[in-house]
């Protein structure tokens, strides 16, 4: 197995695909990636080379799990939403084939320093990294609650996982095919109370994250979100993936790939960013009936952050220490 990189930080590896399975509309891949699994933490992502005609760049995917022990030791999981040349190609890679994987990349979710009740909010395939985070939080003794939403039940990844893992869990679908009909943001304010959440973690479409952040802010609950932006390099050198962030010097552009993808939600200047999400394949041109999976949650109006509140309760995870 070819591995390139240093003793800490991301490595580039040739990884065998050990397993591929359908997860409703999505696909789950398990990759043999011992060095990445060892260094990874929830919230980080990998950048996978694709070989569809005409493609050039890698594709970023959240790490949906990393196994260090057991019979799948040294593996990582990713969950794919096939909707374009890269994701289609990856969803079709048979077990036994190899992929070039670079990771772990980006900053992980900061973990609470004292025991807390945490509410994890996942939208669509954004639930995948939340399951990984949930496991980690539970292992550290926190109370884990899940709010998982999607357009329909085929986009709720393995609902048994949050049900088993969490103290409390709830599901929403826009078409009502599973759990509450509506969006996660419809229930969030109420669920914050129900779960007595002291911290919220969220991953999903940016519009959902903006709305989640607003609701949390209104409720005074600190919130960490993992965002998405178009990425060319994933390692901080191209400057394509920026997000406007409130800093001491005013709003500045930060790179999602190295300064994120996890940000304290109140620090994101959403109103200065463009609304870059478009529904995947809104029109049914093929025979298969893909449709839109994006949320369109809208939060209340603009307000500023008090981020000391949150950072007091969290510590930053250092990943991949020198061994």
């Amino acid at each position: 197995m070819s591995v390139q990189g240093r003793d800490v930080g991301p490595v580039s590896m040739t990884c065998e695909v050990l397993d591929r399975r359908r997860l409703g509309r999505y696909w789950g891949l398990t990759l043999s990636a011992p060095e990445i699994a060892r260094r990874a933490a929830p919230g980080q992502f990998v950048n996978i080379a694709v070989s569809a005609p005409g493609t050039l760049l890698r594709r970023p995917f959240s790490i949906a799990g990393a196994a260090l022990g057991g019979h799948v030791a040294g593996t990582i999981d990713v969950v794919l939403d096939p909707h374009g040349p890269g994701t289609d190609m990856l969803a079709g890679v048979p077990p036994g084939a190899s992929l070039e994987v670079l990771g772990p990349l980006g900053r992980a979710f900061p973990l609470p320093q004292r025991r807390v009740s945490a509410l994890l909010v996942g939208g669509g395939y954004g639930a995948a990294p939340m399951y990984y985070l949930g496991e980690r939080l539970r292992a550290e003794g926190h109370r884990v609650n899940f709010l998982v939403g999607a357009a329909d039940s085929s986009r709720i990844i393995d609902p048994i996982v949050p049900k088993r893992m969490a103290t409390w869990s709830s599901f929403t679908t826009e078409d009502g095919s599973m759990g509450h009909r509506g969006r996660v943001t419809d229930l969030l304010a109420e669920d914050l109370e129900t779960t007595a959440a002291e911290v919220v973690y969220a991953c999903g479409p940016n519009a959902m994250l903006a709305a989640v952040g607003d609701i949390c802010e209104a409720a005074g609950v600190p919130c960490q979100v993992a965002v998405e932006e178009h990425m060319a390099c994933g390692v901080g050198v191209c400057m394509t993936c920026i997000l406007p962030i409130h800093t001491r010097k005013g709003v500045q552009n930060r790179r999602v790939c190295v300064d994120g993808p996890v940000f304290t939600s109140t620090r994101i200047a959403w109103e200065e960013s463009r609304y870059t999400e478009t529904a995947h394949e809104p029109v049914d041109d093929d025979l298969d009936d893909r449709d839109a999976s994006d949320h369109d949650g809208r939060g209340p109006d603009d307000s500023r952050a008090d981020e000391g509140h949150f950072t007091a309760g969290v510590r930053t995870v250092r990943t991949g220490g020198r061994r």
């Binding site: 390139q4 003793d7 400057m239 463009r274």
Partner: protein, 324 residues
Amino acid sequence: MSTTTRPTGRTTGVDLSVDLGGLVLPNPIMTASGCFASGREIDALWNVSELGAVVAKSVTLEPREGLPTPRMSETPSGMLNAIGLQNPGVDAWLERDVPWLASRGARVVASIAGNSVDDYREVARRVAASRSVAAVEVNLSCPNVSHRGLVFACDPGRSAEVVRAVRQALPDRPLFAKLTPDVTDIARIGRSVVEAGATGISAINTTLGMAIDAETGRPKVANGFAGLSGPAIRPMAVRAVHQLFTELGPEVPIIGMGGVRTVTDVVEMVRAGASAVAIGTATFADPFTAANLVRDLGPWLGRRGHTALADLRGRIEPWPHHPR
């Protein structure tokens, strides 16, 4: 875990060194401006001093936040970008990044940009103060505010003016004028900047492109127009480098770039007339690209009996007629 070890070209007995008008580099592999950030990001993966030289992101007099997202879109074998020269400003770069690069043992080439001749002159003046900057590349693909926003590199006269100003402010360092392919006659622009004092040429910058989402009607890059780079443009780059080499002759060093990814791409660029070769977009697809090229170029040449890369510069062979 084994950190990658990288035999240099020298161990194969092949001479990879290049002399870019006084800037002598151990090997021809450089970074393309704007595709390597501060150098720290890639140094987290491999030792950036292995490179022939690091060409930094273009810096301007003042810091810039750049353009809104989406800033990039993949195209067939290429990508479009419109970053808008986001950079910390020349002073912050000189203070924070240059000393760090120097401490790592990297050879540093500044890339400077501006919207007026005065801008360029002033940035060059500040760069001149740093002895750690070995050479300067003048990014001429910037809109000229005093000329209806027309890009400097599109006009031989304005390009020459900028080069003269920079040359004056920075008389003691090799100076490369970076050209755009979006002109009727790139050789003519090349001739005029060399006459204005450029040591050599860097070519090519991105070519202007655009992509529109059929469905939503939105430009795929928020800015609308964007620069096209990557393997898709390599044939344009090879052509431009060859035209410049033919026009300017072997005395004028050329840093060739545009879609280079493999060892054969490097050799192709050198045969077209490049003295050294810069890697841009390929680093995004694989951040180890440049390191692998430094490692593999010497052995590739050695296996073919070449003893010095420089011998291949500008060497194009004729097509033989059919043997009969």
